[in-house]
Each structure stands twice: as C-alpha cells, then as structure tokens.
C-alpha cells in the first residue's frame, strides 16, 4: 500500500526540490560571496555580509519588524478568533457565504488592495474629505505613512490566514463537549476558557505561525502604506536585491531573518507544550 501511494508525493517533492531547496541553497551560498563594484557577484568567500548585519541600524529594523509582526499576529488573533467563532456557529449555507467573504480579498491583486488603502487614508482621501466636509476637523489627519498605517495594512492583509485555520478547528470541535461542560456547571465564558480555547489551540497555533511568518517578510504593505520612514526588514532585503544591487548582503539578511523565524516558531511550540504539561499537572 505504502509503496504504491508513495509516488503521489513525487510531483510535490520535485517541485519543492527545484523551486525551494535549490534556490535556498543558492541563497545560502550567495550570502558568503562578495559584491563586485558594479553589483555583480564575485566568487570569493567572505563572512563580511554577516558582520555587516551587526550594525545597530539593521538591528533596529529587525527589532521593529519583530514588534510589528508580533503585534500583527496578536491583533489578527484578537479580531479573527471571534469572527471564526461566529462563522462556525452559523448554519451551513451562511457559513459558506461568510467564508467566501473572508476569502474574497484574495481575488483582487494584493498591490491594488494596498493602494486602495492609500486612497482611503491619504490627506485628500475618503476619510479626511468626509471629516473635513463635516467640519469635524480643519486640518487633514495624517493617517498614512506611519507605523499605525502599516499595522492596519498588515492586519487587513493577513486576517484570512488567521480566520481560516481557527474556523477549521472550531468547526471540528464536538459540541457535546461544550454541552458536557455546561452540564457540569460551567458558565458559557468558563466553558469557552476551559474547553473551547484549549481544544482549538491547533487552529490558533497554525494561524499564528502563518500570520507571523507572512508578516515578518512582508514588504509591499510597508512600502506602499508606510512610506520611507517605516521600512521593515523585508524592504531592506528588497532594496539590497533591486536598488543597491548587493545580492550577497541581501542573501545574508534573508538567511538571518529565516533563522530568526524558525527559532521563534520553535520557542512558540515549546512554550505551548510546556503550558500543556503544566496544565496537566496543576490541580
């Protein structure tokens, strides 16, 4: 049985090997090479790219990126969980409608949607025009090109990645377990806290990782909505490859970013497992 179905994974493995593994190895190799005067790659080994990252400038950007990503993850969870909960409680037909609405933004190009936010938020944008004409303000508010705008854009863009996995885990939750909790004297809130939340943890974990990993490398939103001041590490990497034409340094930054993500996800998993064990031992 196994040997026959094993072949089914071959296309995916080939795809990953050619378009993920090999490029990744190239990026790793590239990060140890030198940049030539005209932006070409010089095939000489160096650790220079990595020591450059120690520059506090990059450290600051990296910290800022981590902070924004964590905040984005937290906010999408805060907004996405109740939404997923609401959808999971609807009738079948309505569930499909709502899920369709959640996924609808994917039908429109991401860049276009980001610029739509610019139209809404800029000085002569929808909100400012409205508030001005109502006489509520006499100076346009600067809603765009700051960290808050970046955060708004990130949460907007990544919300579906939180809602969908959480919805799936809520959908699989056996309602009778909740009834059992009510039956044993748990109020709705306590039943949520002791039963629903722990039993949908897998959805929360999946959603958090998806959102966190996506936001840590995000460069379109900060580029379009954050302006020059709010560059995140994704923008710095993008610049190294496109404007600065320093591929080795861009590669080194990518590797560091990747290692950092993997490390954080690992810590996250461990924290959850420890929490689980403590939860079991507490009485």
């Amino acid at each position: 049985m196994l040997s026959r179905t094993r072949w089914l994974s071959v296309p995916a493995l080939l795809w990953l090997a050619f378009f993920f593994l090999i490029p990744l190895l190239l990026v790793i190799a590239l990060s140890f090479l030198e940049r030539g005067t005209y932006g070409q790659v010089v095939y000489a080994f160096t650790l220079n790219n990595y020591s450059r990252i120690a520059d506090p400038l990059y450290g600051e950007v990296l910290l800022e990126t981590l902070a924004v990503s964590l905040l984005t993850t937290f906010l999408t969870l805060l907004i996405g969980y109740p939404l997923a909960y609401h959808i999971a409680r609807l009738e079948r037909g309505w569930q499909h409608t709502w899920l369709l609405l959640v996924m609808m933004p994917f039908w429109i190009n991401f860049l276009v949607r980001s610029y739509a936010w610019v139209v809404i938020l800029r000085s002569q944008g929808v909100i400012n025009t409205l508030l001005l004409s109502l006489g509520l303000i006499d100076q346009p508010l600067s809603l765009l090109y700051n960290s808050a705008a970046v955060l708004l854009g990130m949460v907007y863009a990544l919300l579906p990645f939180m809602v969908l996995p959480v919805y799936v885990s809520l959908e699989q939750l056996d309602r009778r377990k909740l009834e059992a909790a009510y039956d044993l004297g748990a109020s709705p809130w306590r039943a949520f806290w002791h039963i629903t939340l722990p039993l949908t943890k897998s959805g929360v974990v999946t959603g958090s990782i998806l959102v966190f990993v996506s936001s840590i490398g995000m460069f379109v939103v900060p580029d379009v909505m954050g302006g020059a001041k709010s560059a995140l590490i994704g923008n710095v990497i993008q610049n190294q490859f496109l404007s600065a034409r320093d591929w080795p340094f861009g590669s080194a930054l990518s590797i560091v970013l990747m290692l950092l993500s993997v490390m954080l996800i690992f810590l996250y998993f461990r924290a959850i497992r420890v929490q689980e064990r403590e939860g079991r031992e507490e009485r």
């Binding site: 009778r176 009834e179 909790a181 009510y182 039956d183 044993l184 004297g185 709705p188 079991r280």
Partner: protein, 328 residues
C-alpha cells in the same frame, strides 16, 4: 413517594414539525425511569429538555417543585451522561471527574475527598492519570459516570450510555449501573432503544412512539399487559390474531402446540409447522396458519425432546388469561 421531576404539558416543535405533542409525566425521587422507544421517537429530545439543552415550545418542567424552564443547564441541579461520553480529551481522568466541582468552586479538600470516594466507587483509581484516549470504551463510560455523580446531583440523566459498547460488556454494566443507582439513591432517567436493557434495569418504563408516551408502567406491566399494538410488538415477541374488531396478542411462551391426533382439547387455531430454530435454552417453532396469512411463533423448552416434523399439521392453544385484547 415524592415527585422530583414533573413535566407539565411539555411540548416541543422544531420549525413546523411537532416532535413532542403536549406531554405530562411525574418522576418519583430515587426511581429508575427509562424512556424507551425507537430512534426518532422523541426520547432524547425529552431528556435534553429536562437537562436544559432544548427549550420546550410550551409547558413547564418542575425540579423539586421549582419551574426550571428559564434556568440555564449550568445552573440545574442534575447531571448527564452523554451518549458518546463527551469526555474532555485534553484532561486526565482525574481532571475530567473534578471538572464539575471546580466549576462550582468546591473547597480543594472536599474535592479531593469526593474524588477518592468516586474513584473507588467506579474502580478508576489506577487510571486516574490517564488521558481519555488511553482508555477502553467501558473505562471511558465509567469516567463519564464518575464525572456526573461526583456532583451529587438530584437527578442523573443518561442518554444511551451503553450504546457504544459490545454486548457482553453492556450486560455487565447494566447490573453495575442498577446497583450504583440503588446505592446512591439518585433518581435515574435513562434513555435507550434497547428493550432488554430497559427491562433489566428500570423501576418504571415509559414506552415512547412519535413523541407520545404509549404506556408507563413497571417492566412486568409493560410486558404482560401492553396497552397498545405498538407496545405489544415493540417489547419482546408477540403473536397477533385478528378477533372481530380487536387484535389479540399472545406471547410465544404462552402458545401451546398440540398433535392433531391427540384429540381432547379443541385447538384455537390450526396450522402446519414451517420452521424450527434451536436456541439453546428454548426452541422456536414457526407455524403457518391454515385460515389466516399469519405465521405464529411458539416457544418450547430447549431440553424437551424434539417431536415436531416440518410440514406436520398441528393445533394451537393458549389460556384465556394469557391473551391481551388491543384496540386496532
């Protein structure tokens, strides 16, 4: 005896469909009452209304004299054993059992005391640190019961608690449950579609069909004196004979089979032996009647010498007090 639960004209509709037409029922304190009926007869809906998971469309439910229709399930002084146990998969056996006391903020010392008591009663002491998925079906079932009875509820509701277990285990647990109920003195309201289970355990049985209680009585009354055609055929095996405007029901063990040659007694019906099935303690004899398109079933002691030939013409008789007249 004191009434612990009183259903007064309780009615349930789902949308346009009436699942339970107005129904009244009084359940005595300390009694083992079974709601018995085929699937879809409304027995589980009735139980869920008592538990508070469903709202009656009209009517009132009284617990210990107090109306509880407006009381949410988590404030009702009763507990339920769910059909598939509904144990909390992320908690150990011990945590599952303690959940109710924790929610009611019972002092820790008392929690421990009652836990030990219940663990002993349900023989779960050695399994206390296990997770539900590491338990067999029978063990999970015991955890579900322990989790409910640790709260000392006034009433325990059981929704087909043995339904998922195999035959032998079910037999043993039936007796265990019955003894548990006697020892604890808690009122049990037990839902099942298995008539044998109902007979073995109940003080009283309410036979339900299409949302209506067809008959309420002791297992004996239900078996020996069924009041409707449904009860007569749903509980045990029965032979039905048309008799003027009514139907006569006679249990197979009450039907006597005669050799036609023997003379003497005038047989009530005549027929030919169609089939004989040996089941150990008894032998089932199927007789095809001559005058009616009916096959009659008669039971005979398994250790009696087999004297019947397939196709043999025989007479059937029964005592007048063994026939039950039912309205059509």
């Amino acid at each position: 005896m004191k009434t612990i639960i009183q259903l007064h004209e309780v009615e349930k509709q789902f949308g346009q469909q009436t699942v339970i037409p107005p129904l009244s029922l009084a359940i005595a304190e300390g009694e083992f009452l079974t709601l018995l009926g085929p699937s879809g007869c409304g027995k589980t809906t009735l139980l869920r209304m008592i538990a508070g998971f469903e709202q009656p469309t009209s009517g009132e439910i009284l617990l210990d004299g107090q109306p509880i229709s407006q009381v949410p399930p988590y404030k009702r002084d009763m507990n339920m054993v769910f059909q598939h146990y509904a144990l909390f998969p992320h908690m150990t056996v011990e945590e599952n059992i303690l959940f109710g006391l924790k929610m009611k903020k019972v002092p820790a010392a008392e929690q421990q005391h009652r836990l030990e008591e219940v663990l002993q009663l349900t023989r779960l002491g050695e399994l206390r640190r296990r997770m539900p998925r590491q338990l067999s079906g029978g063990q999970q079932q015991r955890v579900a019961i322990a989790r409910a009875i640790i709260n000392n509820p006034k009433v325990l509701l059981l929704d087909e608690p043995l339904g998922a277990l195999d035959y032998q285990l079910r037999k043993n647990l039936q007796l265990e449950l019955k003894n548990l109920q006697k020892n604890l003195g808690i009122t049990f309201i037990y839902v099942t579609h298995d008539q044998e289970e109902a007979m073995a355990m109940s003080d009283r049985i309410a036979v339900m069909n299409r949302g209506v209680i067809e008959q309420l009585g002791t297992p004996q009354e239900i078996y020996l004196r069924p009041k409707s055609l449904f009860v007569a055929t749903f509980i045990g095996e029965n032979n039905l004979f048309r008799h003027r405007d009514a139907i006569l029901a006679v249990r197979p063990e009450k039907v006597k089979v005669y050799k036609m040659a023997s003379g003497g007694e005038q047989p009530r019906r005549t027929g030919r032996i169609a089939d004989i099935v040996f089941l150990g303690s008894l032998r089932k004899i199927f007789i095809q009647l001559e005058a009616e398109e009916t096959t009659v079933l008669a039971h005979e002691n398994g250790d009696a010498d087999p004297v019947w030939q397939i196709g043999e013409r025989v007479g059937l008789g029964w005592a007048a007090e063994d026939e039950v007249t039912l309205p059509c």
